[in-house]
């Protein structure tokens, strides 16, 4: 009997220690990066066109984002910023078509400061939107350094940092998830299940390195069955950073009329240089 008990304890103690270690690591991540996770309040003007005429109404909602540099550049899920991003612009179901324009965007930092911001770049392909303060902040903002990254393996435990809603005082929250699938085609992303309800937030491997940003992957095909099958995914840091570089350089959207395109040449002309046959990464 004694032998059995001893064996059982011997088996359980490392397990308990291991759990305690995970929680300890997780708390360190929260402490280190929690301030980089912010709340974004957005008002969009929703335009619904039917039978040639358009009705407008504004909708207000909050989402989360991750600040990725000290100037306040933040990344979030495009779906949260522009709900029409998953719609095919040519798909006018029952004669209705929808479009959304951002009317107001404000970042609320961890210490409660509210910063008016613009959406500067959208990437529908990756479900990313980049938000930048309208004015340079008085002091550098807390941010997540995405260069300190890692690639999790299948079934690895990862921790996602989020912020709760206003009713919970926008408190920081942590959630442990597992990598349920690694999709590599056409690009790499990590599927983490469907329990998460907040996107644009960072995911970490348990060694404290950033695994990427949580986004929504939705199908682009015309298969009715898969039309509404979304995956909550983590987009690797390298992919996000590559786009972020363009977001840093992005200029505000032009408001004044631009010259018309030549009708026979509908393709936008590239102003980027190299004809060199190389992949970006």
């Amino acid at each position: 009997m004694k032998l059995i008990l001893t064996a059982l304890l011997a088996a359980l103690i490392p397990c308990a220690v291991s759990h305690a270690q995970v929680e300890n690591d997780a708390r360190k991540i929260v402490e280190k990066y929690g301030s980089a996770v912010v709340t974004v309040d957005i008002v969009v003007d929703a335009k619904m066109t039917y039978d040639g005429q358009t009705e407008k109404s504004e909708r207000k909602h909050s989402t989360t984002a991750t600040i990725i540099d000290p100037s306040g550049l933040a990344v979030t899920s495009l779906l949260q910023v522009s709900p029409d991003s998953y719609m095919d612009p040519n798909d006018k179901a029952d004669g209705y078509s929808y479009s959304f324009v951002t009317k107001d965007c404000r970042i609320t930092t961890a210490d409660g400061d509210e910063i008016p911001a613009d959406v500067v770049l959208r990437d529908k392909d990756l479900d990313l939107a980049f938000i930048r303060p309208k004015a340079k902040p008085d002091k550098p903002l807390a941010y997540l350094d995405m260069t300190n990254s890692s690639m999790p393996q299948l079934l690895d435990q990862i921790m996602v940092l989020t912020r709760l809603s206003q009713s919970a005082n926008h408190s920081i929250a942590a959630k442990l998830e597992r990598v349920e699938a690694i999709v590599t085609k056409p690009r790499t992303f990590f599927v983490i299940g469907d329990s998460l309800r907040q996107f644009g937030v960072p995911a970490f491997t348990m060694d404290g390195k950033c695994a990427g940003i949580v986004v929504v992957r939705y199908p682009t095909g015309h298969d009715e069955d898969s039309k509404y099958s979304f995956y909550i995914s983590v987009l690797p840091c390298s992919t996000v950073m590559n786009v972020a570089q363009q977001a840093k350089d992005a200029k505000p959207q032009a408001q004044a009329p631009a010259p018309a395109e030549k009708p026979d040449k509908p393709v936008a002309k590239s102003n980027q240089k190299p004809p060199a046959a190389k992949k970006a990464h």
């Binding site: 207000k60 951002t102 009317k103 008016p116 529908k124 095909g221 631009a258 980027q272 004809p275």
Partner: protein, 683 residues
Amino acid sequence: MFSKLFPNYTRVILPVLALICGVASLAVSAGGDEIKTEMNAAVAAVRPALIRILVVSAEYNQGREIKVESAGSGVIISPDGYAITNHHVAGNAQRLVCTLADRRVVDAKLVGTDPLGDIAVIKLVSPDNKPFPAASFGDSSKLEVGDRVYAMGCPYALSQSVTNGIVSNTELVMPPNMSDEEFTLEGEDVGSIVRWIGHDALIKPGNSGGPLVDGEGKIIGINEISVGLSGAIPSNLAKEIADQLIRSGKVTRAWIGLEIQPLLRSSNLEKGILISGVLPDSPALKANFKAGDVLISLGDREVVARFKEQVPLFNQYVADLPIGKPVSAVVTRDGKQITLTLTPTERQKATAKEHEFKSWGICASDLTYLDKQEMQRDSDSGVMVTSVLPSGPSGTAKPPLTDGDIITRIGNDNIKDTAVLRTVTKQLTSNKTDQSPVLVYFDRGTKHLVTVIEVGKNEDTNSGIEISKAWLPIDMQVLTRQLAEGLGVPGKTGVRVTEVYPNSSAAKAGLKVGDLIVKLDGEKIPADQVEDEEVLPSMIRQYDVGAEAKLGIIRDGKPMDIKVKLEASPKPPRDYPTYDDENFEFTARDISFADRANGSVTSKQIGVYVETVSEGSWAALADLQADDVITAIDGNPISNLQALKTAMTSIAQRKPKTVVFKVQRGIHTSFIEIEPSWPDNAQ
């Protein structure tokens, strides 16, 4: 279209089955020469005066004034162009366009409106100063159940139409199980003074405001509701209201502040009306009326209201009492008769008109007597917020204003009403380009709050641009396993080219429809299921724009390589700069790649693409539609957005009576004649 013309009113709008212009067809079903002769005469007397009214009204929602279109009916009652209709048709009109029976179209102006009686009077503008055909009123008090009547109007905005039936009820009131709200217009309970003429001549949405006509061709009612039976406002009441509206632009009624109900059955009384309540600050309160009193007589009239049908008659009598002159009243209280004296005052509106305050991002109204009582406020000073634009200065304030808040003070200025708010707003915003933060004091229920609002136009927020990535300018389908076998290349994966965009790098490189792309720079393309349609585009997006990619293709069964320079992905339509015309209320942009690629615009088409057209706008009234391409304005070609902006700027300065757009709608071309009403001062 019909759903837009006949929005879901809180009341059931008048109806009709249209026997279009149907004198002959009516006669066939009715049978008998006598009836046919009567119908012919009745219709001939009124039909020329019958009008279809297209109405552009203002609604207020989310801090914005929004125009809406609807249609109704009316009838001309004087040769100089006065016409009667329902308040719920034309009472909030900003623009009225009438179509006469002879198909002429003329503008009209709102003369006055009365929500309590649901009657409005408009005046048609004669283009040639010639008199209009007019119908005359009959005596609705002489109607009897069974009398033949004709409902005339424009159901569903169809042309002038007639249905027939009989009078079913001369004193129709709403039963207790029907919500009063359904028959309430702007806070006014129409059923409190109206006993409808119930009839079975079919009426449909669009018949509202049209006449109910007797066998002699006289107007004996104005059709208003449909509750199984059709219901018309009796002509005697309608005429009385219309006369006042024509005379003074408004209806003046006396008010005593009594709330009343029919006698309780248990009272066993034969006469009188039960006082259920006495409103604060009212003549009745000053006269010492009390809830529970039974009013036996008022002035020189004995009061009898044992049934609900009798209550509107009492209310009509009260409304006609002389304002400011004392009148005696006898009540029974605790078994004793008491004589009281009360002095009626002028009845105020139940609700006040809403106004849009763009600088604040709110819609707001003055407080009425009823608002003050309902909200249990000490005074009617203040401005009531009726809706808030979420992105506007008031919607983004901390705390934000919300519906029902009462603004009492801005900075050091007390805000008594909307006129004061307008003046203060001008002081705060004139000659300023930036927002001005100001303290705004407001009441929310019993709480007295204050907030900081940055009054003025909001700074534009950017929606961002779509990232530009490498793109192969073709359209494609996945080379599925089955397709590969069918095409004689079993085991191959990749895509089949379905379209090569003209003048693109793919066209220049020689790619053709039917080519099978199986490799990209020597790498297999792992696409073999329908869902894999994004595989090759995603692989391409990994390249730099301008990079050269080697495509391994199979053409006519033979493998070959083609080098293609990758282009930048086309700019999506939403990233195109837009022009927003505030006068005609449409937005437009240059034609995008997507417009041409999806076939909604032909490859050679020149013009500007209409993105949105606001409901009720001048552009919408003229039938400009989203997805149209404007190709010319007043004969001048419009080739791009700059040309459109130049043209519209010139139009705004010249303020012409009509502007003609030439538009392309798919393969069809049409000319759209816009007839704007230019305001003297833009707000």
